[in-house]
Subunit: 336 residues, 2 copies
């Protein structure tokens, strides 16, 4: 029997800083008849990403903010259950911006890709084979430009982006140093993600000295997701000609007003270093090839990933805040 | 008659921050006989550059610090008066790291170039045809990568580097916005260096708003020599894909401890912008061609420059501090 209602997680209020459970509400809405030229998809997994904080922020950003009362924007993967669209048929498995809801009606414009990796888990489409993995591979190679023998330092080293950055850098012949928080993540970095050195920023009395000791030739590539105290400990140790990839700012709760930090200009000048922002959406041209490369390494057993799967739509409202509390080990997903 | 003594400006004490007159002493030393394989040059003009602060700093830097008791390192231009070197003969005019002194004996390793522009003033070799001009042209083109129609913002816009950056950007088809201090420099920027807009950071109640108004399409290239409050006013207005050239840090008196400023990571991420240090000595491969290009524009009257010439070696000890007091209008030189 066809589904009658669609549960949706909608934005109820605009957060300052990190969105909390109270900023969302779950609403059950009747499903309208499927419009001509559209298909209906049942979401299997919803994505939970740090970038979502930006998507609900009113501050000028790289995407239009989610409106109050709208379904929370998110990547999701699911299966077409009904179609009046000439490109998609029931049974097709698709990745797209389908939102935090049970069912998505789409005219196809929010489809990211068709799932081709039938011998890999569907959930991987939202992590290592999705935004996170593509960000890791293209951010590292296109902005970081690592060369064999160089030292690559990764903040949020056990995270879904960072863990892939570290593994890809190692596959490309680099020495890898991961910075993460807590003994469980340090163990993951060392034992599963193969970092040459894993540093616990919570346990180190002098993180800057620990970075210096771990990087005797300096830091050639710094892949950053934090923009906070961890970066402040890494920047003084850049090697001449270093590349800093700015991929996220997870350590900063609010940019209004902009927080202060040690100025970076002198490091960039003395080391003739480069600091550059990376945004996935600018690099869609390379995504398909990146996914093929990542899938290949997964099948060869050279690239592993961890997932943190929450059960049911009820888990969604608090899921972003939980990311910023650091409670997940691996890519956070919601299984429907 | 051959000269008997050589007056030298030597580093007497190592400064914290900006070197002052008291950090130097003038000593008259007897000239030794000229060694085989060396030539002797009489300096005509000595250079005074903001970068000299770094050359006498004990903090790890891109060059070995000048030692206590050593002649102050500097660019200079002069004429060979005696030679036991097979490449250089009396009458040759050379640019090199000849130091703050009347005479320099050299084995040729500190020669930067032979003066070829006989129809342009010799002093220009230390400014618009020297380190400053080459830094401006190569920093702007190699790091800033300006395209016609883009907006280029220059801090220290009336300085010897900045004024050339502004004029070259205009020659390359860009809109130019100069930021400088005081009405005299604003007038210079507008009337001599051809900036489309010249802003006085001392007079603007809200410099950030003034930059926004002057750059309705955003800042595509920001050429910075300050690393201070001026940069903090520019960074929020970067255009998507902007390039920030870090060429100097004149606004910062001391980097020990590192001063705090608004964090830049979010701007770099949201605008997918790049911030990169430029150091002249990495770009020597392009210097000769850059000088030919700059000399050509000078002869065509498209590129002008200003000089601030101090008279006599006695002016040297206080000359760097004077730069940081902002007392010069144009490239500072010492005429011997």
């Amino acid at each position: 029997m066809a589904p009658q209602t669609n549960r949706q997680v909608r934005l109820r209020a605009r957060p300052e800083g990190i969105p909390q459970a109270a900023h969302f509400e779950i609403v059950a809405a009747p499903l309208p008849p499927l419009a001509e030229g559209h298909f209906r998809l049942r979401n299997a997994f919803l994505s939970v990403d740090p970038a979502m904080r930006g998507w609900v922020s009113a501050v000028a950003n790289y995407s239009t903010p989610v409106g109050i009362g709208e379904v929370m924007r998110s990547f999701a993967v699911g299966e077409v259950i009904e179609s009046r669209h000439n490109l998609y048929a029931p049974g097709d498995r698709l990745v797209g911006m389908f939102g935090w809801q049970d069912y998505a009606d789409s005219d196809g414009t929010n489809v990211t890709r068709r799932v081709r990796e039938t011998n890999l888990p569907l959930s991987a489409q939202l992590g290592v084979l999705g935004l996170n993995g593509v960000t890791a591979l293209l951010g590292l190679t296109r902005i970081g430009d690592p060369r064999p023998g160089e030292t690559v330092v990764v903040s949020t080293a056990a995270g879904s982006v960072g863990a892939t950055v570290g593994q890809v850098a190692r596959i490309l012949g680099c020495r890898t140093v991961g910075i993460t928080g807590g003994p469980a993540k340090v163990a993951l970095c060392r034992d599963e993600f193969g970092y040459d050195v894993a540093l616990d920023y919570r346990a180190e009395a002098d993180l800057s000295a620990a970075v210096a000791a771990a990087c005797p030739d300096g830091v050639h590539v710094y892949f950053d997701n934090t923009a906070g105290a961890v970066s402040d400990a890494v920047m003084p140790h850049l090697a001449v000609g270093a590349r800093v990839v700015i991929c996220g700012t997870a350590a900063i709760a609010s940019w209004n007003p902009p927080p202060l930090g040690p100025r970076v200009e002198r490091h960039l000048l003395v080391k003739r270093a480069r600091m550059q922002g990376f945004l996935y959406f600018d690099h869609l041209d390379g995504a398909e090839q990146a996914i093929e490369q990542l899938a290949g390494w997964m099948r060869e057993g050279r690239l592993v990933h961890r997932e943190d799967i929450l059960e049911g739509l009820e888990a969604a409202p608090d899921a972003i805040a939980g990311l910023y509390r650091g409670e997940n080990l691996g890519k956070r997903l919601i299984r429907l």
